[in-house]
C-alpha cells in the first residue's frame, strides 16, 4: 500500500503538467486531421471499380518498367517496380481490394504516429528523475521514510503506466475516429505482404495487434534508456537527446555499422521490432524476433541495474 501512494504521487506530477495534455491532444488532432482529409478525398465510385483502376495502373507501371530497363536505371529501382507490379497483379488475381478504407486500415495507416508517442514517452521518462533535481524537490522527496530504490522504482512504474496508457489510448482513439469516419468493419480485411520471396495475404487486424504488443516492448526499452541517461547526467536535455538519437537516427547509424559482425548486438539494430511483423528483410543479417527480444531484455536489465546502483549511492547536493 505504501508503494502505491508513491506511484499515485508520481502520476499526479505527470498529469498536472500542461505539456502532458499536449501529448494527449496532439495525436488526436493528427488522427482527426488525416482522417477527415482522407474521408473527403475518397471517391466512392473509384472504390467500387477498383479492379478497373488497378488494372490500368498495372499497364502504366509495366510501361514505366520497360522504360527504366531501357534507361539502365539502378537495379534497386527496377526491383522495386517489379515488386509493385507483382503486388498489384496478386491483388487482382485474388480479389483483394487494396484501397477500401475501414477503421482497421486507418489504424494501420496511422501507426507512424507511434514515433511521435515514442518521443513523448522519452520526454516524460527523461524528466521524471532529472526535473526533481533541477527543481531541487528531490531533497524533499528523498527525506521521506522510503528507501531510494523504492522512489526510483515508483517513478519507473509510473512512467511505464503512462506510456502504456498513452499508446493504448492512442490505438483506441484511432479505432474510434476511424470507425466514425469509415465504418467499424474491416476486422477480417486482408493486406498484401511482400517479404522479398513471396507475396501473401495477412489480416490488417493481426498487424494491428502485433504492432500494439511490440510497441509496448519498444517503449519499455526507451523508458529504461531515458531513465539511465537522466540518472547519470541529471539532465533531461541530454537524456531526451540521446534517447531520440537512438530511436530516430538508429537506422542511419546502423547503415554504417551493418556489415560489422557485432552490429546485431547493438541496441539500434534491435529496437525496431515492427520490422518483424511482415518478416521483411532486416538491415542487419541474422536478426529474428526472439533474438531481438533477448538482446533488448539484456540491455534493459543492465541499464536498470546501473540506474538503480547510481541512484542509490549518489550524494544529493542540489
Amino acid at each position: 500500500m505504501k508503494f502505491l501512494s508513491l506511484v499515485h504521487n508520481e502520476w499526479i506530477k505527470i498529469v498536472n503538467r500542461p505539456r502532458t495534455w499536449i501529448f494527449i491532444i496532439l495525436p488526436i488532432l493528427l488522427l482527426l486531421g488525416v482522417g477527415i482529409y482522407t474521408k473527403t478525398h475518397i471517391d466512392p465510385a473509384e472504390q467500387k471499380h477498383w479492379r478497373e483502376g488497378l488494372a490500368a495502373q498495372v499497364k502504366e507501371d509495366k510501361k514505366q518498367l520497360e522504360e527504366s530497363e531501357e534507361n539502365d536505371d539502378p537495379e534497386e529501382i527496377i526491383a522495386m517496380q517489379e515488386r509493385d507490379i507483382k503486388e498489384k497483379e496478386y491483388a487482382l488475381k485474388h480479389n483483394v481490394p487494396p484501397e477500401k478504407m475501414t477503421t482497421w486500415k486507418f489504424m494501420k495507416n496511422m501507426s507512424w504516429i507511434s514515433m511521435l508517442l515514442g518521443l513523448f514517452v522519452i520526454i516524460v521518462a527523461s524528466d521524471i528523475v532529472s526535473s526533481e533535481f533541477a527543481r531541487g524537490t528531490i531533497k524533499m522527496l528523498l527525506i521521506r521514510p522510503y528507501s531510494r530504490w523504492k522512489i526510483l522504482l515508483s517513478k519507473l512504474v509510473t512512467t511505464l503506466i503512462f506510456s502504456f496508457a498513452l499508446w493504448i489510448g492512442f490505438v483506441a482513439a484511432s479505432w474510434l475516429i476511424g470507425g466514425v469516419l469509415f465504418g467499424f468493419g474491416g476486422f477480417d480485411q486482408p493486406y498484401l505482404v511482400d517479404n522479398g520471396h513471396a507475396i501473401y495475404e495477412k489480416l490488417i487486424s493481426t498487424y494491428i495487434f502485433e504492432n500494439i504488443g511490440l510497441h509496448l516492448i519498444e517503449f519499455t526499452v526507451l523508458v529504461v534508456l531515458a531513465f539511465l541517461i537522466s540518472t547519470i547526467f541529471y539532465s533531461n536535455a541530454i537524456a531526451i537527446g540521446v534517447s531520440m538519437l537512438v530511436m530516430l537516427a538508429g537506422n542511419t547509424i546502423l547503415l554504417f555499422i551493418a556489415d560489422k559482425p557485432w552490429a546485431k548486438y547493438t541496441l539500434f539494430a534491435n529496437l525496431d521490432l515492427t520490422q518483424f511483423i511482415d518478416k521483411q528483410e532486416t538491415l542487419v543479417e541474422g536478426l529474428t524476433l526472439p533474438f531481438s527480444l533477448t538482446v533488448l531484455a539484456i540491455y534493459a536489465i543492465v541499464m536498470l541495474a546501473i540506474t538503480f546502483a547510481i541512484f542509490q549511492k549518489r550524494d544529493v547536493n542540489s
Binding site: S5, L6, H8, N9, I12, K13, N16, R17, P18, R135, G136, T137, K139, M140, L142, I143, R144, P145, Y146, S147, K313, D315, V316, N317
Partner: protein
C-alpha cells in the same frame, strides 16, 4: 527509547580528499531546540544532509531515536520532518496538492491534520493557488507545513527564518517552543545569530567541519564575561575613582560610558555609591553580556566586536 532524539558520533564527511565535516559529535535531547551555528562552508548543511540521508556518511554514526540511520533508514526517518536549505515545491501544483504529496508518504494523515497545519502557517487563503504564485515567505511557510505535517519527533530546519517577516519569525519561534513542550526536538541552523539566541536552548558552534563548542544559551547568571556600563556625566573623574578603588578590574571609557568588566553584584553596588558620593551624576547602570554573535566571531577567529545586548538580571 533513547533519551536523545538525535546522536552524532564522530561523524565525518570526506569530499575530494577534504574533511568537510570532521569527527563531529553531539546529542540533541528530547524537547530541546538545538542550534547549529557556523560561518558559510563550515559544514552545517552537510551535517544536516547526512542526518536526513541525502548524502552518505564517510565514517561515524548517526542515530535518530536510537536507530542507526544507515541500518534502519526508513524506520528512523518516519519521525523526522525537515527543510534542507530552501524548501522547493512543485510550482505547477497548488500548495494543497504539494502537501498532499507529502501526506501520502506518511502514515495516517487526515484532512483535518492538513487543514490544521495550513492554518498554523497561515496559508488558508492561498493554499489552493499554484505555488508559482507564492512569495518566498509563503514558500517558506509551506515548507514548514510539510515538515510538521506528520508530527515528527525530530524537526530539522535549515535556515528556517529565511524569507519570513518578523511576525512570521515570532510565530515560528512560539510554535517551536510549543512543540518542544510536547517533547519534540528541533535542530535549527541559521545565519541570524541573534535569532539563534532567541530560539535555541543550546548552540553548537562549528567551524571548518569541527565542533568548536556547545553553549547553553540561557545561562546569564553563570555568565563570567558580563560588563557593567555606567552612564555618567564626568567619565574621566569616574574612571579615576573606580580605578583607584578596584584596581583588579578592567575598566574602559567609551563616550559617556564607563565599562567595567567582570564585576560582581556587590562591586556594582559599591561603585554606584562611590560615584554618587563624589557628586558624579549616574544616569544609568546596565548589565551587558557578550552576545552569541560576538562569542562566535571571537571563536571562529573573525575578530571584531559587535553590539552587546542587554541582560535582565533577576
Amino acid at each position: 527509547m533513547s533519551e536523545y532524539t538525535l546522536e552524532l558520533e564522530q561523524v565525518t564527511k570526506q569530499l575530494g580528499g577534504k574533511n568537510v565535516v570532521d569527527g563531529l559529535s553531539f546529542r540533541v535531547k528530547k524537547g530541546e531546540i538545538f542550534g547549529l551555528l557556523g560561518p558559510n562552508g563550515a559544514g552545517k548543511t552537510t551535517t544536516i544532509r547526512m542526518i536526513v540521508g541525502l548524502i552518505s556518511i564517510t565514517s561515524g554514526e548517526i542515530k535518530i531515536n536510537g536507530l542507526n540511520i544507515q541500518e534502519h533508514y526508513e524506520k528512523a526517518m518516519e519521525h523526522v520532518g525537515a527543510i534542507v536549505e530552501n524548501p522547493q515545491m512543485y510550482n505547477y501544483l497548488t500548495g494543497y496538492k504539494n502537501l498532499m504529496q507529502y501526506a501520502r508518504m506518511a502514515p495516517n494523515i487526515t484532512k483535518e491534520r492538513i487543514n490544521e497545519v495550513v492554518a498554523l502557517v497561515k496559508l488558508e487563503d492561498a493554499i489552493h493557488e499554484k505555488v508559482k504564485t507564492y512569495s518566498l515567505g509563503m514558500r517558506q511557510r509551506l515548507g514548514v507545513a510539510q515538515a510538521l505535517l506528520h508530527q515528527p519527533s525530530l524537526l530539522i530546519l535549515d535556515e528556517p527564518t529565511n524569507g519570513l517577516d518578523p511576525q512570521g519569525i515570532y510565530d515560528l519561534r512560539t510554535y517551536l517552543r510549543r512543540l518542544t513542550n510536547k517533547g519534540v526536538s528541533v535542530v535549527v541552523s541559521s545565519h541570524l545569530l541573534s535569532e539563534m539566541q532567541l530560539m535555541c536552548d543550546r548552540v553548537a558552534i562549528i567551524q571548518r567541519g569541527k565542533l568548536i563548542r556547545i553553549d547553553d544559551v540561557i545561562t546569564m547568571d553563570n555568565e563570567k564575561e558580563v560588563k557593567v556600563h555606567f552612564q555618567v556625566d564626568d567619565v574621566q573623574k569616574a574612571f579615576q575613582l573606580i580605578k583607584g578603588s578596584h584596581p583588579e578590574l578592567v575598566i574602559e571609557k567609551d563616550g559617556n560610558e564607563l565599562i567595567v568588566e567582570k564585576a560582581v553584584k556587590e562591586d556594582v553596588r559599591d561603585m554606584n555609591r562611590m560615584l554618587v558620593m563624589a557628586d558624579i551624576s549616574v544616569y544609568g547602570i546596565e548589565w551587558k553580556t557578550k552576545t552569541l554573535e560576538e562569542r562566535f566571531l571571537e571563536m571562529t577567529g573573525k575578530g571584531g566586536r559587535s553590539d552587546e545586548i542587554l541582560v535582565s538580571r533577576s
